[in-house]
Symmetry: D2
Subunit: 301 residues, 4 copies
């Protein structure tokens, strides 16, 4: 369970106090506010705040004085146009602030997205909780035999048991020792900023993460992708659902043009043109490498 009763009470109290505002309100997002969506075994994603909605994208694109929308269908068309033509600045006019609890090794991938604001729980200042990510059986995957940075089928039987035991035992022992080292009972107690170095990368951390919609969608495109590591993908998937409720038109355009779309190279476009003319194109006649051809075939079906 990711939240203690105290934390849940704090959240419930916030959810029970609607206030008046003159700002744009996105009804689909209000229902997500503060609610902790569970991810992995101890993680979550919570919306702490947001700014803007679909209409705000159009309002900015038009630099308008009022709400910036003539009609919903006009707005949808404009949003699709902006997305198709890579006009990123109107999407930057929406912003979201999330509270995320996530394993450290996921946090290290996540933080590589630089155009965002982050406040992480400080393990120099505070003591980390005894919470570690231990993969569910179907996420305990073998190294891929074809892709150096991917994973294959789930481990089975003996091996799966052995790995789980290792992960659990090492996590517990390291945390026991972490506690023992920082304890000031009968000893000086090691500085927290040093003791944390004994903790494995599956320990949970948490942060506030604030990002604009353009950069959020870029994050989602890379991290909700099937090639992303499963453990970050589930966070991206949870955020996708939230985003779909927040800015439905923008999210739909994103699904069509980014998630469901594909970038074809000049060579690939040439092949497509030839194939439409009825030519039988092979890897050899395509001018592509084997890897490119395989990816091309996946796209073209």
């Amino acid at each position: 369970m990711p939240l203690t009763p105290d934390q849940q009470a704090e959240i419930d109290s916030l959810r029970s106090q609607p206030q008046d505002t003159l700002r744009t309100v996105a009804p689909g997002m209000e229902k997500h506010l503060y609610t902790a969506h569970p991810v992995l075994d101890h993680g979550f994603v919570r919306v702490v705040d947001y700014m803007g909605d679909d209409a705000a994208i159009c309002q900015a694109a038009r630099v308008s004085y009022g709400k910036g929308t003539k009609s919903v269908s006009n707005d949808e068309g404009l949003i699709r146009y902006l997305m198709r033509h890579w006009h990123s600045t109107p999407f930057e006019m929406c912003e979201v602030k999330l509270h995320v609890k996530l394993p450290v090794f996921v946090a290290r991938q996540w933080i590589r997205h630089r155009t965002a604001n982050v406040n992480e729980y400080s393990a120099r200042y505070s003591i980390l909780d005894r919470e570690f990510y231990i993969p569910a059986p179907d996420a305990l995957a073998a190294q891929s035999t074809t892709n150096n940075q991917g994973r294959g089928a789930a481990l089975e039987g003996e091996e799966a048991d052995r790995v789980l035991r290792i992960l659990q035992d090492d996590a517990m022992r390291c945390y026991d020792n972490y506690e023992a080292m920082i304890s000031d009972e009968g000893q000086q107690g090691l500085a927290r900023e040093l003791a944390r170095m004994n903790l494995p990368a599956n320990i949970y951390t948490q942060w506030y993460w604030k990002v604009d919609l353009h950069n959020l969608l870029h994050f989602l495109r890379l991290r909700a992708d099937t090639h992303a590591q499963y453990e970050i993908r589930v966070y991206a998937d949870a955020i996708c659902k939230i985003t779909a409720d927040w800015v439905p038109a923008a999210y739909k355009a994103f699904e069509d043009y980014r998630m469901g779309g594909a970038t074809l190279s000049a060579r690939a476009l040439d092949c497509v043109r030839r194939m439409i003319q009825g030519e039988e194109v092979t890897q050899e006649s395509s001018g592509m490498s084997k890897g490119e051809w395989r990816e091309f075939k996946e796209v073209i079906g």
Copy 2:
């Protein structure tokens, strides 16, 4: 007058429709929402949206589950601490979106602050209005005789009249010709993206500008400074007032530590120590250049 009746009506309509939200509401900011604060002769600053308040800064700094505030006085102390120790990320957790109308030469300085989101009115797509900045008499200043990039006293008499006439005539003539060139009556009509090149830099443009509080304060420190050009300083001053109403504790800390504070060099600190000991320090014995010494004396009084 910066707003047409239509624009004013659109704004009034927005201001008359409060909605329920579960988000943090900053009462001091709600009253500014949409209102156009006039700046210079045709410009303005309008708050279009905002995210967060003083408590949100503390909430992020504590990565807390709830509102993040124990008491207002605790929050003030924490905010002062964060400001004093250059902890910038909690301030990044507040965001504001402004609609600004401003002369092009001011826009060109403003845009140099890169960590912000901008949507500018497109003069490729649309036709600019006939609105030019013409300085008020007391802003019509002579070149400074001591500072290559500053200005001195206001021009007087004849010269002031001559300059005003030039600015007005050139603006009007250039705009007449802009209109004449793009007109499609009895001719093809020059492309707007080309015709705009005939317009002087005192023509007004407008944009949506979105920025986090940390970067906003950095902008204000540089642009509300007495060394900033007057024409951008008046915008910064207007935003200072808005910010003081939005995040009063953060703004107060900003005033104390940034606007009213000063960075002293190692040499300057050494002089201060000697002066406190009663030593009579001169420029010669200070180790500073003349320029540094003059600036030091201004700070030390």
Copy 3:
């Protein structure tokens, strides 16, 4: 002529003094160093400095200890892989610094690319030169009748003459008045920071612009595109040629995957699949809007 004899002498002197370095040297780029490539009537692009080459991209991708290259063909394959899979960080490991002279209205588009370093010639501090962009006859285009932010055919006859005369006369008059206002002969002289507001947007400015290769390629994709305004496209074209000499493998991959490639939406991919199966797809049966369909047909041929 963009350079004075003094400026040319300074450049020649720099070009005549090769020095020893242990850094990576890109021979194709050395030949461009300092040379001013003319653009438009008074503008130019000059390479002031650069860091890295094709091998440096691979070296960073491999976080290697040595040069990071096993063989040129390996490097090319890796670079194509990185480009195809949107791995941007290795391309960020190359950097270039350009000195660019350009009209102000072009500078205003250019500066919207925020992830770059810029030092612009200060018209608060210095006096601008009397140099204005006046379009060549074939660049003096009419407003497009189909695209609100595009241009159509070149103006002809009378109208072309009239427009040219206007642009020239207004530029000269505004500049004469600029000089008259800042003159301190027999008067105080208006502050430069104010006087510049009288100058039209076709006056030339100049800046140092430093950017990493990833962001440079992004800039080139948008600004060397046929939809970009001609006056910025010619700068992008000049930089494309320089880049092709600097990092030939990266530039080739860029041409294939970005400039010559296209992003197809989920809908568009679906149509492609149906067309390859032999189906006759029309706009109506495509599920696309008219605009999307037209753009799709342009890509598919």
Copy 4:
């Protein structure tokens, strides 16, 4: 020893091949190129490439055609002026690329500086080495009793031994298990991207880190500061020495205005003025909190 003989041989080979360049060469930096400066027990900092020198800062500030320097003393004065007045863009015109080997918990602090380019060794793709940071006896510090995020005196006797043993044993056991889990002998072998989660935060990683001089100096100000954690400070110290050789004038100005300087609040400046007048100011009469007053006294001496 941080480098294997093979790695050293690669580096030596690079150092033995000077090439001709027309670019600016910084002699003080050439001597650092590729050399691995040891930091902590297994870490290092190596300069992989650089762009610019002191003169390049001035050249950019002046947007000059040639080398941009009249004389060294002029340049020094200009650099001091730019530093004093927070003109950051000319310093952004120098760039450095480092190869750094560092413990993961240090990397996690470091990466918070977002305005930089990073390529980290991928533990999804590759197998990490068995190298862990184990503090030297004098760095094995107790938790500070006065500062929640600081450290006090070194641990002594028994406790120090115990902590060292824990850190070593847990590191070795976790690494043994990491190897056992990814092994494909007689089993499928856990995916590397998962197995890495078992490794404690004192394991070493490495990356290429590229940053401009302005942002580097900002990093150094925060991380070479006495309040920074020792383990990142030693990296910052090593980079300070390199920077002093690379851009001596800029580094000197940085030492005077940033590292050795201090920002005083409005209240603090008021106290300074009163103290110079001979007044005996106490915490009570200062208007400062106890924390502020203590920090103020440290600065004022």
